[in-house]
């Protein structure tokens, strides 16, 4: 049975009418019209569907929407603020850190969460943090450099 639920997505309260066991991914894509979270496996194995819950990166493909509550959900659409791209987005653009880009939103979310908890990660820490995000095109080395660049950009913003 469908139920009315209120979510907080990208800073806005959004009310949807869905079956409560619907994974958050389909609510974000189909009910709220977002594209950032992507379907990659539906098995929590690849990270393409990652979103921020609070400041933590989580997969959304099996997370029942009824368990989300009013935790702040952020997708890549909500990473930018005041019309300015988030440092991870700017750094990925600057380094052209993608090929097909299908996995990029999950990478951006993972990277944003990492830099929140660890503003100056080592390369190994970046690799470890992104191990749950699969990339098939082989953009890994660029992505690691882009996360390092994002860390720099965040530091510049703060300084």
């Amino acid at each position: 049975m469908e139920r009315e639920l209120t979510l907080v997505v990208n800073g806005e309260r959004r009310t949807v009418r869905v079956a409560p066991d619907t994974p958050l991914l389909y609510v974000l894509r189909d009910d709220l019209g977002l594209n950032g979270p992507r379907f990659g496996c539906g098995l929590e194995q690849c990270g393409a569907c990652m979103v921020l819950r609070g400041a933590e990166a989580v997969t959304s493909c099996r997370l029942p929407v009824s368990e989300v509550g009013t935790a702040a959900i952020t997708t890549v659409e909500g990473l930018a603020s005041d019309g300015e791209l988030h440092p991870v987005q700017r750094a990925f653009l600057e380094l052209q850190a993608a090929q097909c880009g299908y996995c990029s939103s999950g990478m951006l979310i993972s990277a944003a969460a990492l830099l929140w908890r660890k503003p100056h990660p080592t390369d190994d820490e970046i690799r470890a943090a992104l191990d749950g995000n699969l990339c098939r095109c082989g953009s890994h080395t660029r992505i690691v450099r882009a996360v390092q660049r994002a860390a720099q950009l965040m530091w510049e913003v703060e300084a």
């Binding site: 189909d30 594209n35 699969l134």
Partner: protein
Amino acid sequence: MSGAASGSGSGWGSTRGRASFFGEPTTALDDRLAIAPDGHVTAYCGKVELGTGVRTALAQIVAEELDVPLDRVHMVLGDTGRTPNDGYTAGSMTIRRGGAALREAAAEARSALLDLAATHLVAPREALMVHDGTVSVRDDPACAVTYAELIGGRRFERTITGKAPTKSAADYHIVGIPAPRVDLEAKFTGQPAYVHDLRLPGMLHARVIRPPSPSATLEALDDSALRDATASGDVRVVRRGDFLAVVAEREFAAIRAAERLRPTWRATAQFPPFADLHDALRQSPTADQVVAEHGDVTAALQHAARRLEATYFQPFQAHASAGPSCAVADFRDGALTVWCSSQGVFALRDAIAELVELPPERVRLIHMEGAGAYGHNGADDVAADAAVLACELGRPIRVQWSRADEFAGEPKGPAMVMEAIGGLDANDTILAWEYQAWSPAHGNRPRAALDLLAGQLTRREVPTPRAFFGGGDRNAPTDYIVPNTRVTMHWLPREPLRTSSLRSLGGAANTFANESFMDELAAAAKTDPLEFRLRHLTDPRAHDVLRAAARRGDWGAPLPAGEGRGLAFARYENSEAYVAAVAHVRVNVSTGAIHLLQVTVAHDCGLIIDPDGVRNQIEGNVIQAASRALKEEVRFDATGVTSLDWQTYPILTFSEVPEVVIELIDRPDEPSVGAGEPATVTTAPAIANAIYAATGARLRQIPFTPERVLAALRPTGPR
């Protein structure tokens, strides 16, 4: 425009394969280029963006040749209703062929515009110059007219003669300079970017329920668990022959319905035991073809001072795109439109038209990006699924394959067996080289309804084997100077699994075998592998990449125990880019674990259009090929594929990827050749040769799993 190309749908003659591969390019300038009243340029190309950045690179070529700013050029790609038929986007030919066609068109347009300007400005053509889409008189810059004023919104009505002068590379100011890709910001900010993001009003979501293998038949269907949902109209079950699908307003309802439907499939065992795969390939009936021969290899092998033999194995591998295939189809007013990520929208248009029994001119295919495909994955099949359902239901239909659908349904990169016999003379020079490979078809892109899973299932027929085997022999011959050589392909008309094109086709497996064997010969000759290769090559471009890779990859520098460097070289397709790679590995001899530390690549693909784009391609090739070499193998049981997710088909993760060091050799006076595949082929042999250098273990079977490393170590032990 070149919807006119749909005339090709009438016949199924022998030229068809060629037409679908190379397309039927146009000579009408207006089919290629249009200049709007505001000066914006639209260029049309039947090639498509596969996530490699060609949309940007093709726009660079147009902007350069036409002398307009890059941001004023908009590319329309792969739309049977709007673009010329430029054949498949495959074989690293987008820049070479699609780019060449656009360059000619843009040069023709520039020439036409200069003619118009000469009249308009009342000045001789020779006195004119062009800058940013404005033509002016060189000695009187105020005397000027823009492209928009000359032709904006009107047609050229001119033929592409191929004779309009093109710029010399020395004058380039857009081509050859890294340009930010036009598609990435949308992808990084969640704007619609993929076919997965297309939402049409009234669109329904579908999931297709597949049999374990294409020859299985649907015996019974238990839909009792869906009774409430079907009674309320929330879910519809569609069955045509053995084609079975569920359709719902809500995507998750379709997913759940697909899980709850209980079909009974009758599947006959059709696959050999997994462990016997390579014996099965060797024992299958084959059609044999000598693809290269000179000298007398049989006699030379008899006279050789030393003779060496080795057999190498390539498993079935998956494209394993990051996003499973997706398509949207809409059937209204007797016409069908399908949005999909096919690499060949024109050929697929004809196959789908046959499948849904519409004339090809009533079917339009529009390419939208999918996740990176690297060859023929599920993109064509999912488009057919959506087409069948849209025609059946009369509503726009979105079909999204599951992860398991993709792994089970996508055509696999073929398993192969490669056997090499070499003979050295008394001076340790290669006297004879006999090479044989057993290979299923590498080119099964759809041209007819039965080439599509939906066609096979709705009609309950499996297609007859193709006569086209091409691609498996790619890089089967080497570029080494050997006086007596024979290269034979043993083509398997039937394969255990459905196969088709995977990045580089046979190039990866053949180069793995050839370059491993070259290393084995060098070891037998007790000669440094670099020196041994150089001695058998005369082409200076081959020498240059090998020396550059060796220099950047610290070839010959001392390493700690358990580490080693391996070298590999190839000229892709024996006629395209030159590439050499040095892999650096560390091997744990007690566990067999391989740590791939670095791959250094020297790469010569002629004139470089976009250096950063080429680097990005090389990095991707190396990392993906390393993943294939170290981890990837599609497993199956008697009735179906059992590698169905990322745990049963693992790929390289961030912690495992090597550093990739790249040396680009730019050749402004040589034609541009593709960079989308060459660096794939040298990666596996460089790694195998590095493992040998580190441990003395010779890995002849991909993937190089720890178990195989340990098995290879056992007879010889660490060096």
